[in-house]
Amino acid sequence: MWQQAINGVFLGAIYALFAVGYALVFGVLDILNLAHQAVFTVSAFVALAFVAGGSMPLAIAMPVALLAAGLIGIGLERVAFRPLRGRSDSNISGLISSLAAATILEAVALQIWGPDVRRFPQGTFPDKPLSVLGATVSALQLTIIAVSVALMAALTALLRATRLGRQIRAVAESPRAARILGVDVDRVIAWSFFLSSALGGAAGVLFGVAFNSVSPDMGRSVELKGLAVIILGGMGSIAGAVIAGFALGLLEVLTVVQLGSSWRDAVSFGVLFLVLLVRPSGLLGKAAIREA
């Protein structure tokens, strides 16, 4: 049981990290960025390219991949979201244009790296098993949990204590009021996309390392899990996304143990569905804006 709990936390850490990026953009813009999963994938490929092609250690390749992901995020905002701002149906047209951007990114990844699953070269990361209170954990798993928790903590600190963080929260509350108070709203939104995409990229690298497999469609399944996580946590709530990410990871592992692996994915969508019908505001979300 303890062993399963650790596996669940491990999976949950990646889900949470991925979903926090969704939540950040949704909190600021009310737009669901479906290109997030493509950034996740591309970032994993970038890290792999630097490790395998440039023979860099992962500790250097990962920050490079994060930076690349963040820059893609800024580009996405410029091309796919900014032109739509101010349109009355911008949350639906934004969803569609993010789908378009995702298709374009995926096509580029497919053209450059091909459709096959790729692996990190041997010795990129330690895989020595450790024993923690009777459960077997690899040093890699512990590192992944530590890195993702550290990144989420860093984001929370940034939002809470820095000038940029306060501006992001102000824009999330009301872009108009923020603008009146002298906040450069466009700049703040661009930064939110940078942070969101960098975190999504980090999740991608960690996911690729965790399962030692990187492929152009790796983002697809995580994308749908991420949706379940932000719905469960409450759309736009960062803390909610973190809690829900770990909860979903644990729930999935539990399902595999109890019901078998073929039901694993059904659980997240069952949860998603139930939450939307029973408590659409999720665990920590604000109510009111979700229903007509």
């Binding site: 737009i31 669901l32 091309v79 796919a80 032109p83 739509l84 349109r87 149906d89 949350n91 639906i92 047209s93 969803l95 569609i96 244009s97 789908l99 378009a100 951007a101 995702a102 298709t103 374009i104 995926e106 096509a107 580029v108 497919l110 053209q111 459709p115 697809r220 749908l224 949706l227 379940a228 719905i231 759309m235 073929s262 039901w263 994915d265 059904a266 969508f269 069952g270 998603l272 569905f273 939307l276 019908l277 659409p280 979700r290 229903e291 007509a292």
Partner: protein
């Protein structure tokens, strides 16, 4: 004349797929035209395809009955699904319906009676091209009649501003639910037609990307008028054939190039032609007029 005949023979299956994709695009249009973004139609398509295929394959039912079931079973599922789900707005509705689609897909993956992930094979081929075109004609006729009718105006009002429409006494829930159910029936019918054209159904053919494809047809064509989705489906179904040659000359693999062009077209349409490619002539004319008037004013 014989050239024309051989042209039709060569591209017969392409024409059938244009028809099927048009039906799917119209099924998405049904909900889009009252402002609701639903991604449930791939799930309804799966239910229709399985219902139809099981009837012809296991019960040896007449094909007309199988097609009827293909439309009715998903419609019956859509009623209890739509009632709670249509209370959700915007992206919440989209996410809930994505969840529904995945639950349907995973349900079929785990259902041993229908061979799980492998799906049903060797379904009798009963779909003739004229059946697809007849179905498309009927659906288009119905949607054309809707336009300009009382119900059509009600749907437009809901699309523009639902609370305002409701305060005018329009029963918005009933209208939204009717269109949701109609979309489910159309998607299910095209699922049953497709199953009996390609001899097989497999759950993974009805996943998230299928739902997105249908949406893209409708949006690229234009979701403001009923013929928009058909134009979009025809355009995007023919496009890969045209791109195959281009990919060879450019030295790119056709798959990624097709994805890239699809994505770029979708992005271009949503940014510059919010009413789809069917509004292109009007937009161009407006541009030319503006230029002419500027020239006239000096």
């Amino acid at each position: 004349m014989s050239d024309l005949a051989s042209f039709f023979l060569t591209y017969q299956s392409l024409f059938s797929f244009i028809g099927l994709n048009s039906l799917l695009a119209l099924s998405v249009y049904c909900t889009l035209c009252c402002g609701q973004l639903s991604l449930a139609n791939a799930g309804f398509m799966a239910i229709g395809a399985y219902a139809g295929a099981l009837l012809t394959q296991n019960a040896h039912a007449p094909y007309a009955l199988a097609l009827l079931a293909g439309a009715l079973v998903p419609a019956l599922v859509a009623v209890p699904l739509g009632l709670p789900v249509l209370r959700l707005r915007g992206v919440y509705l989209a996410i809930a319906t994505v969840g529904f689609g995945e639950v349907v897909r995973l349900g079929f993956v785990n259902w041993s009676y229908t061979n799980g992930a492998l799906g049903l094979v060797a379904i009798p081929q009963k779909t003739q091209p004229w059946m697809i075109w007849l179905a498309l004609a009927v659906v288009m006729f119905a949607l054309a009649r809707l336009r300009g009718s009382r119900a059509g105006y009600a749907l437009e009002a809901i699309r523009e501003d639902e609370p305002a429409a409701r305060s005018m006494g329009i029963p918005s829930t009933r209208y939204k639910l009717s269109m949701f159910v109609a979309g489910a029936a159309i998607a299910g019918l095209s699922g049953a037609l497709e199953a009996h054209l390609t001899y097989m159904v497999a759950p993974n053919g009805y996943g998230f990307s299928r739902a997105v494809d249908m949406l893209v047809y409708a949006v690229v064509g234009g979701d403001a008028v009923f013929y928009g989705p058909v134009a979009g489906a025809a355009f995007l179904t023919v496009l890969p054939e045209a791109l195959r040659g281009a990919a060879r000359t450019l030295g790119l693999s056709p798959g990624p190039l097709r994805m890239f062009v699809n994505g770029a077209i979708l992005l271009g349409v949503i940014l510059f032609l919010p009413n789809g490619i069917v509004s292109l002539p009007r937009t161009l004319r407006a541009l030319r007029l503006r230029k002419a008037s500027r020239a006239a004013l000096g």
